[in-house]
């Protein structure tokens, strides 16, 4: 099929105006030896019905959380996506618009971003939020670049259990700027080791902590902030915003930069993307902020208007001196975060946090009733936790999938320092019945596997 409207007659008329005999003539500027004489080896085009049938056949070869009960998290969570979000964001005015560089024609997106920024400031306890980045990992990498710019140092100290994917992205993307990534281990409680951080942070640009951390444990952000600041380093907190209704915001505890993965608010699992990168900072760091920022002003007639502001930070103005290279971000996903937070409201956000908390604690209790299953960490946790199974976690997870459950993430013993670890995530969507079912299938699987 095709989407171009040209008839043969249109093409003939246009060629006549141009003064060319054939469309091929317009490509004669390409040296002949590079011009393809044959069509690319791509299958012939299909009708809409055929494309969708083909895609549906591929999709049906996957087992999604539509037919598996999802206790798998580790950075991507099966929260409820409100029905209002995508029908509205799929409107062509939002979905088919470009970056809002022409404010007169982009007031809708600009105002929605301004509202988003306000919500993120409220949830993080910081003064300034940008208008979004790619995802939680890129948000963290950008936060580190801000800290490097602010301190003139290039070392980053990882406090305790940070998602290894985030560490991986920091290492890879930091090679150009010679960023040194120093890991510190976690204590027996599962939380960051303050002495180890203090020892490593002397010449660090930033201390990075995930809160709750990769194992689900709550970190003592205020204490880590003190250690980081004593060393002259910035504190970057990768914060789970679904806990923001019940946990004190990191900004109020001393964090200088808060980053987050916006996926849990209105963004589908999407096999890992597109998600939404969140970044907020203190007012005095605004000149180092990466990416776009929406601001309020007035138009010629004194009417309220919204624009992209402080653009002199950005690549299209500042080129190699820009605070980041980011251009296209993930605005539509960022707006999904804003719509979902508006749907939740303060009451809904608190209830969301309380439900995740309660259901995760119930699940942990139930799993610990399985003979041979042990707790790994004792620190307070939010919606994710680790248990140690009496059998190989990978085999148990595979067995549970056959019973219709994504039981969690089998933790790599080489990285974690303990074996048979299972990381379980429980969102507000999981029911008591599903949690009881999980305990049953894990118990059965442990017996079969062992």
């Amino acid at each position: 099929m095709r989407f171009a409207p040209h008839t043969d007659e249109d093409v003939a008329r246009m060629l006549e105006t141009i003064g060319a005999r054939a469309v091929d003539e317009l490509f004669e500027v390409i040296p002949e030896r590079f011009r393809l004489s044959e069509l690319p080896a791509i299958a012939p085009g299909l009708s809409e019905a055929e494309v969708l049938r083909d895609l549906a056949a591929r999709a049906s070869k996957n087992r999604s959380v539509e037919d598996l009960v999802c206790f798998l998290g580790a950075g991507s969570y099966d929260h409820h996506v409100p029905s209002v979000v995508w029908p509205i964001l799929s409107r062509g005015e939002f979905a088919t618009s470009y970056t809002p560089y022409q404010p007169e024609l982009s007031q809708g997106v600009l105002q929605a971003l301004f509202e988003y920024q306000t919500m993120i400031c409220e949830l993080t306890g910081l003064d300034i939020s940008n208008a979004g980045l790619y995802d939680g990992a890129s948000g963290l990498a950008e936060g580190v670049n801000m800290a490097i710019g602010a301190t003139g140092r290039t070392k980053v100290v990882i406090a305790g259990a940070l998602d290894m994917r985030y560490t991986g992205v920091l290492r890879t993307q930091g090679t150009g700027l010679h960023v040194e990534v120093a890991r510190t281990l976690w204590t027996g409680e599962g939380t960051a080791d303050l002495d180890a951080i203090a020892a490593a942070a002397a010449d660090a640009a930033a201390v990075v902590v995930q809160h709750p951390n990769f194992f689900g444990c709550l970190e003592d952000v205020a204490a880590i902030a003190e250690v980081a600041h004593a060393a002259g380093a910035r504190l970057i907190v990768h914060f789970d915003l679904t806990a923001a209704g019940i946990l004190e915001p990191p900004g109020a505890l001393g964090a200088d930069i808060v980053v987050s993965e916006g996926q849990p608010f209105g963004n589908h699992l999407n096999f890992g993307g597109p998600y939404a990168g969140v970044l907020a900072c203190r007012g005095d760091d605004v000149r180092r902020l990466p990416g776009r920022l929406a601001g309020e002003t007035v138009d010629r007639n004194g009417k309220r208007a919204f624009v992209l502001t402080l653009q002199a930070r950005e690549q299209h103005i500042r080129r190699e001196k820009a605070t980041s290279n980011i251009c296209t971000n993930q605005t539509l996903n960022t707006l999904a975060v804003a719509m979902t937070l508006s749907w939740l409201g303060p009451q809904g956000l608190r209830e969301l946090g309380e439900r995740c908390l309660a259901k995760a604690h119930y699940a942990r209790e139930r799993l610990l009733e399985i003979p041979g299953t042990e707790p790994v960490f004792d620190a307070p946790f939010f919606k994710e936790f680790v248990v140690r199974l009496p059998a190989g976690a990978r085999a148990v997870v595979a067995r549970c999938a056959a019973d219709g459950y994504l039981a969690g993430l089998a933790i790599d013993p080489g990285r974690a320092g303990f074996d048979n670890g299972l990381l379980v995530a429980v969102t507000e969507k999981r029911t008591r019945e599903e949690i009881d079912g999980l305990a049953d299938v894990i118990a059965r699987a442990c017996k079969e596997v062992a």
Partner: protein, 502 residues
């Protein structure tokens, strides 16, 4: 007509209103599980609004926004073409949209198969050997390309310092070069708008890691000396990077790999028609020549020839590592795949044919009124006008652009590329009909005539948009980047340093 002003959502709030509903709390509450010191004290200020008003708020906002679905969007360098709705249906299939990125390979065979087939199609269209899907957007792809360059040179025990880019390059190029740890060397464009080969010869040396270029370049002109350029860069051991921003002009007609490029990024939200979403999400996969494939980020989807199943290939120690939290913007990859399947080989070739036809038609119709910046070089899929003559008569490119809004068209890109005075860059794309192009020409000519009859109406344009020209200087000087409840003054929350002026 775009809709009138709508209050900021917080201004619609009424205490105790809400839109959300929560699943039953069917287990004991765990309120005490959080230490008091970590408990949130002050609840965040979030909108308190019922669902009907929430829907109306965002619908009203959408009506204050312009998209391709409303009309012509000839933003140069942005390839704002029609985004097929079938791709949205494809991406919304539960088997893709509700797939967790850490599921076992046995549960995601259809997903991996699609990615492997998409890789094959993108390699075929670019003439490259292997792809990473992790980069989330074009600029992210650029950074990955530069890190690949770095890894390649380091593997050869080679320390290099500089990356060359044309002076007409998009701003992301120099910004990415710096993040990749290299210095930027700019090569000037000649009077024909193409890379000045003599200047390039003077700039190259053994410390050059590579050259980044779009082809056609950011002026919409094909770099016909590309073989010579590739020879010069490869001659000093450098790598050639293809910025795929303008791939729409050549898809199905010629391939970066055949021209000597080693690394290619593609903007799927341009050439492969995935919607731009008001600034994203896009996807910026990077394709490389065979010799660079081992350095690509890992893991990559692959077909295991032994088992006949699809799996993740984690590569070896040569991989630069991970650049995305998971596997890239897969929702966008599914859309691009659906687009490729719909168009097929012939349809993809029509894309470049008709995009170039449309641009040449517009250029032919406009060139007597607005000067072409490079009249001697035939344009490809886009062209740059200069409003020099209009400026002499009192109207700048920005005035022309803003007045076009009153004619129901989105303005072209203005003041870019930086090397052209009063630049207006027009990219019609292939999905526009001749009537739309003619209406745009009529609007451009009408605005030009107005310079002599009613200059004031240009200077004060637009007149029919939701707002007139905003005070951008004030926005930066008196920074208001969040909403504040009326009783609290902005300065009290944000502190004295929150009002920079840069």
């Amino acid at each position: 007509m775009l809709a009138p002003e709508t209050p900021v959502i917080f201004e619609r709030s009424r205490p105790a209103r809400r839109a959300s509903s929560m699943p039953l709390l069917d287990v004991p509450a765990a309120t005490d599980a959080i230490p008091a010191s970590m408990r949130r004290v002050r609840q965040p200020v979030l909108p308190e609004i019922a669902e009907p008003d929430l829907v109306r708020h965002y619908t009203r906002l959408s009506q204050r926004n312009y998209g391709i679905d409303l009309g012509f969007y000839p933003l140069g360098s942005c390839s704002m073409k029609y985004n097929p709705k079938l791709a949205e249906d494809a991406a919304a299939l539960a088997g893709f949209r509700r797939l967790h990125p850490l599921q076992d390979e046995s549960q995601i065979q259809g997903m991996l198969e699609l990615l492997v087939e998409l890789e094959r199609a993108l390699c075929e269209l670019t003439g490259m050997a292997a792809v990473t899907f992790q980069p989330a957007a074009g600029a992210h792809g650029e950074l990955v390309g530069l890190l690949l360059m770095r890894a390649w040179h380091e593997a050869n025990g080679d320390q290099r310092r500089r990356v060359i880019i044309p002076d007409s390059a998009h701003g992301t190029n120099p910004a990415s070069v710096r993040l990749g740890g290299y210095e930027v060397t700019e090569v000037p464009s000649g009077p024909d708008g193409l890379v000045d080969i003599d200047a390039l010869e003077r700039l190259i040396g053994p410390d050059v890691a590579g050259l980044m270029i779009t082809n056609p370049n950011t002026l919409g002109l094909f770099e016909r000396n590309i073989e010579r350029i590739a020879g010069l860069i490869h001659g000093v051991g450098g790598l050639l990077y293809y910025d795929g921003a303008n791939l729409n002009a050549i898809v199905g007609r010629c391939r970066p790999g055949d021209m000597g490029f080693d690394i290619v990024h593609m903007n799927l939200h341009k050439t492969f028609a995935t919607p731009h979403g008001g600034g994203g999400p896009g996807a910026g996969p990077v394709a490389v020549a065979e010799r660079l494939a081992p350095f690509l980020p890992s893991p990559r989807p692959t077909l295991d020839q032994g088992t006949g199943s699809y799996r993740w290939d984690h590569g070896d120690e040569r991989s630069i590592g991970r650049v995305h939290g998971f596997h890239g913007n897969v929702g966008i990859l599914v859309r691009a795949y659906a687009y490729i399947r719909a168009l097929g080989a012939e349809g993809l070739r029509d894309v470049s044919s008709l995009a170039v036809l449309n641009a040449n038609y517009l250029a032919a119709r406009l060139k007597d009124t607005f000067d072409l910046a490079y009249p001697a070089s035939p344009p490809m899929h886009e062209f740059v006008l200069t409003a020099r003559k209009q400026k002499a008569r009192g109207a700048r490119a920005m005035d022309v652009a803003k007045r076009l809004i009153d004619h129901d068209v989105h303005p072209p890109t203005v003041y870019f590329p930086l090397v052209v005075e009063e630049a207006m860059m027009v990219e019609p794309t292939e999905t526009e009909a001749i009537e739309t192009l003619d209406a745009f020409v009529d609007a451009m000519l009408a605005v030009d005539r107005e310079i002599d009859t009613d200059l004031h109406v240009l200077h004060t344009a637009p007149h029919t948009a939701p707002i007139s020209r905003p005070d951008e200087a004030r926005a930066a000087r008196d920074l208001r980047a969040r909403w504040h409840p009326p009783e609290i003054h902005a300065g009290e929350l944000a502190g004295p340093d929150a009002k920079p002026s840069i």
